[in-house]
Amino acid sequence: MTEQVPTADTVTPTGETLNVLHKRFKKAVRQDDRDGYDGILIDPARLVEVATAARDELGYDYLASATAVDYLGKGDHLEMVYHLCRTSGGPALVLKAQTPRENAELPSLTGVWSGADFQEREAWDLMGIRFTGHPNLKRILLWEGFDGHPLRKDWREAYYEADQKPFDSRWPDGHVRRAEQDNPYGKNVRYPDGFVLDEYQSTAEDALYADVALGLDVSADLATERVVVSMGPQHPSTHGVFRMIVTLDGERIEALEPVMGYLHRNHEKIGERNTFLQNMPYTDRLDYICSLSNNLGYALAVERLMSLGSRYEPPTYRAEAIRVLMAELTRIVNHMWAIGFLLNDLGAFFTPMMYAVTERELILDFFEATTGSRMMCNYMRFGGVAHDIPDRMRSEASLINDRVRDENTMEYLHKLINERLPRAIDQFDEYLTTSEIVTNRCIGVGVLSTADAIAASAAGPVLRASGVPYDVRRADPYSIYADLDFDVAVRYHGDVYDRYLIRLDEMRQSIRILKQVWPLLMDTGGQPFFAGRGGIYSPRVPAGESYGRVENPKGELGYYVVSDGGQNPRRYHVRAPSFINLTALEQMCKGHKVADVVAILGSIDIVLGETDR
């Protein structure tokens, strides 16, 4: 027998909260008593009131996630699910509101939390729920020429083959077809009724500009100092294909609207066609810098669902130790990358970047030897990890590749954690922290106040640099973090400089954790890295819902997964920190110069693979 980690505490705040709310809202609130579900169902008419009460009276000041589910064939309604948290910590409170599928409509919560803004726009875009009272309800990931709301269960993609994988056409009579045959060019796009493509360009651009132009007619007023600039999507500082429509008065930002979705592939729809296991490699491609911690969040969500069943075995202790090792190394990888690119954005072209990426490469060497890939690791499994850490990081020369390495893995890790990385972090401190160029450009720029950060659902380093010591590893511990000794880094000015400093702090804390994990790995050597029998490619996942969240390097990454007991998730939603952190971008940028926008965006640290999903 190996020592097992106790499963997550399943006590949720639903019961006690319901008692409180019931006194005031009577029949408007009731327990969600479907099997495997938890939370409070709320009459849409009272939703705003209940949310306000939860925020002001019950202390649930932070809207972690808001998403919609289509229950076609199971009550035929759409359901909006809100996960609320206290920034002081504890499990999430789940609120739900239902609306019929036809003319779906719910009140907007943007008045209670500004963080609901993008998430409601996403629910409108992908699920077709109209939010009354939303100030700017339009599509966010898709464009106006898109027909329908793709996450609805009866919506089918152009290359639709079947509702669920695996497809029958692959075996035993699998005659190959190229993807283009099923999805011929010219026939792969559908437009909404009455949509004329040729007219689109001008009207949509107008709408976009009218919205941010503060009511002035751009074409007539160009003679004034006000200019609307489209930054991106092809712009080196936007870290991918991200666009900002910026209204300028001279050099100063008056308004800014983020435009995204250029990398959208409907990750969630793909996820609902996939089996539970097949989603694992797809999570790598969300935030492609941090594939291992993406894996972890998804594994947690599905394991939580599996734990409702009778034959569930939680991950072994060794598996948990390996997971934490991977997650913390990933944090260092990400923060190295973030700091390197922030400096690029500030104009220190590629020198600091190269120093940062060198360290990252050394970590990726370990990832590659262990998981088989440097970036798309696909390493976590439900119940453990895919392989144990290899004894040696070795390679064989072949005709293709000829420069060979061979090192003892644990010794390599030891040296990496105790010598190489701490030295590199200190070097960054010496190199950049006091440099006047950095301080002049960063101090006091892009300030986000504590209250605004919480209201806008900012997460991760952005939230903590604004003075909120909120870290999921401590607020709602998972894996073995509860047993580990580390501090939640926090800074108080909320500017670009603090967001830079907090990443250094967090790397130091990660090193501290890694130093505790290394001996655990030595002690558990040879023990199983996977609970139960291996080789099961379609695990039984009981019906129910779960929300698995981890503290990803960029902020809270949550997976909301609904199972109806089959092989595929009914709903698979990703609460993407890069996406939600952008909610506060305009607020941070207002009043600053154009060049500062680049620095501010760099300090939020987004990855478009995750933002656009």
């Binding site: 692959r170 699998g174 190229r178 590659e368 070795r394 090192e407 006091t434």
Partner: protein, 214 residues
């Protein structure tokens, strides 16, 4: 003093700058020599860290994953030369996330009963996401992830659907790119041969033993 931070930062740059030359002198200005490589690319590396691809290529670790290949018996195998290890059980096609594997199950032309060998096996390498799940869940160690990542071609429509012939590689090749893993797998199977061959051998041995006992 104002500006001292910048100077301190530049000292760090200078240190790196000097370190690259010290490194070069150490290796006699032959940075690309095979002895220098493991040191330059290790935790002790202080000099230039970049690898000058394609002149210089790092051998990838054993677990490295790129487009899968099908294991067949060595072409000089006494009994089963070139025989597929794949039994066309279909697990890899079911588990493949982008569904890029197509298999035609083999059947006996006379009886029509399935035989443990695929008639056709295709992988669309444009779709393959190199996740390695096929190799992980194949019960017969018949599909493995390759190390050859230089697959660029000029015409994707005609070249990127790999058929069985293109996918098949000798067992010896797998042993050469991943010796440790191949050995672990062999010890789990109970020998270097295919699982079915080993099973048959054990059965035969048992039959012989019981005959002798009689």
């Amino acid at each position: 003093m104002y500006g001292s931070g910048v100077w301190r930062g530049l000292l760090v740059t200078l240190k790196h700058f000097v370190a690259t030359y010290v490194d070069d002198i150490r290796w006699g200005f032959r940075r690309r020599n095979p002895a220098a490589f493991p040191v330059r690319q290790s935790l002790d590396g202080r000099g230039v860290f970049t690898v000058e691809y394609p002149e210089e290529k790092i051998a990838v670790p054993e677990r490295f994953r790129f487009i899968p290949f099908l294991v067949v018996d060595n072409y000089d195998h006494p009994e089963r030369a070139g025989h597929d290890w794949c039994t066309s059980c279909g697990i890899c096609a079911k588990v493949c996330p982008p569904q890029c594997i197509w298999i035609v199950r083999g059947s006996d032309p006379d009886s029509g009963r399935p035989v443990p060998e695929p008639d056709a096996f295709y992988i669309d390498i444009d779709l393959c996401m190199n996740c390695g799940l096929c190799a992980e869940f194949c019960p017969f160690d018949a599909i493995k992830m390759d190390h050859d990542y230089e697959l660029a071609s000029y015409d994707r429509t005609s070249n990127h659907i790999y058929d069985k012939r293109r996918l098949s590689k000798e067992f010896r090749y797998w042993q050469s790119i991943a010796p440790t893993i191949a050995e672990q797998e062999a010890s789990a199977r109970g020998g270097w041969e295919h699982k079915d061959v080993l099973k048959q051998k054990a059965k035969d041995a048992k039959a012989v033993a019981s005959e002798q006992a009689e």
